[in-house]
Point group: C2
Chain length 280, copies 2
């Protein structure tokens, strides 16, 4: 594994929860990535890969320590890859506040200074990360993608813009219409500039209007989520999907909030969904 | 709930993962406690309770965010109570180092200054905590106890010293013979003084020699645990159990370390064990 260092290696549900650091040429910095190798990886098989994109403030650690996904990944024989959420380091631009800069890459390719120098998370997730995974791990090349909040937005955008690249897509509590909510407006103004036409390529509610592939969207949302009405607004995606005839399985779960307790409660269903799609 | 404040309330696997703060008279400070109420609690039933004691440096948060126990507790209808690991606060004695003072109560009643003023975790766990739980939650009064590392030590000691009080006991990576290893020698010297006779009442390997009840001990231990030979030494408990005819189910799992990835991998088996014992 050239340019790769294994930082953690921990037995978990019969497989290994590892953390690697690798050099990203796209981002111009080192990136840390959680990689869960299920027990089936020991047999020499090539396995399907689920990519997980985390939300604001997260690193690769949040998902791998809190979601409890390894149990289900081990059951289904799926590799789970969870990268950090932005470029990092001393030379990388940052901002005050948790919702812009490091920890808040929003899975876009920034076009505006100072962000454009490093913030190219879209290209990293779509191109460089899977290339690195498929060169260094027993990955079959069959992919699925999911994520939470900002990462749910990222998963939906990446899948909708890349027909055929992912067998399935899902999201927890996604920012479905970043162009219409404060988190997205702040980030897109900084990363992409004030021309809102340029925002549409990173807005799932816009992208479903013209998706080249009707990949069904699986979305779980907590009904007690503190960001539901202000930042997430799943009904905007629902209306756009209805207009476009795009299949959406949106489930609102009363009482559940925005935390990993919600993700942990339903991640098993998502991994089963992705495993079935990737086995088909 | 007098003297009790609910700090967190999060839907999880159909139940609620809560965190409460309550006043402990035994410890002379406020204590935070994680309480998982499974979905069965909504029906008005009185449910059995599993007490979980965490290890060095932990608060109530480590177990509730990382172990993935809620899934199994929901499946079996068990309340899970996870207290902080020591008294806390500005008036509470502390020490440099992670293995003495706050976060390192070792589940003993300290007899030595300055520790004796607050460090009475043994009485807190055995008496005050279950009394508070049984007064404030739908608890049936049927109890089991488990824990990790320092908390595995605590669980074994508490169960062995209180025949009839717990239906079952288990431990992950416990400090089985604190009197014979550096962590225990440091803590017991400080909390209990230099008379090693006084240490025996808090040493599972000593207690099995004269246990009033042959409660089977379930112990899981990672074979790749970085503390295995220096601090944990399960073979000392194994030898003592063989000598005393005390039933012990000790399982060494090759490759697993001391982390919550190990606990998460096997907590399901422990909760099933406790649920069966508490239903009997």
């Amino acid at each position: 594994m050239s340019n790769t260092e294994r930082l953690e290696h921990r037995a978990c549900f019969g497989g290994w929860q590892d953390v690697h650091r690798h050099r990203s040429e796209v981002l111009g910095c080192d990136m840390t990535v959680g990689v869960y190798l299920p027990p089936q990886a020991k047999a020499g098989a090539r396995l399907p890969v689920l990519y997980w994109l985390s939300g604001l403030t997260c690193t690769e650690q949040n998902f791998i320590t809190k979601a409890g996904a390894q149990r289900y990944a081990a059951e289904h024989g799926v590799i789970v890859v969870a990268p950090d959420t932005s470029p990092r380091g001393e030379g990388v631009a940052d901002a005050d506040g948790y919702d812009l800069g490091q920890g808040a890459g929003f899975y876009v390719n920034a076009t505006q200074a100072p962000w454009s120098a490093h913030y190219r998370m879209y290209d990293y997730v779509v191109q460089e990360l899977p290339a690195w995974v498929e060169a260094n791990f027993p990955a079959s090349g069959v992919r699925a993608i999911s994520g939470h909040s900002m990462g749910g937005h990222g998963a939906l955008v990446v899948a909708l813009r890349n027909p055929g690249r992912y067998r399935s897509v899902s999201a927890f509590s996604p920012i479905v219409a970043p162009s219409q909510v404060p988190w997205g407006e702040k980030a897109f103004s900084a990363y992409l500039g004030e021309d809102r036409e340029a925002w549409k390529q990173y807005d799932a509610t816009e992208l479903v209007k013209q998706a080249g592939e009707k990949l069904p969207l699986l979305v779980d949302q907590g009904g007690g989520d503190e960001f539901l009405e202000g930042q997430l607004r799943p009904q905007l995606l629902q209306a756009a999907c209805e207009d476009a005839g795009h299949p959406l399985d949106l489930r609102i779960h009363p009482g559940y909030d925005h935390s990993y307790y919600f993700i942990a409660s339903f991640i098993g269903r998502h991994i089963a969904h992705h495993a079935a799609a990737m086995a088909a």
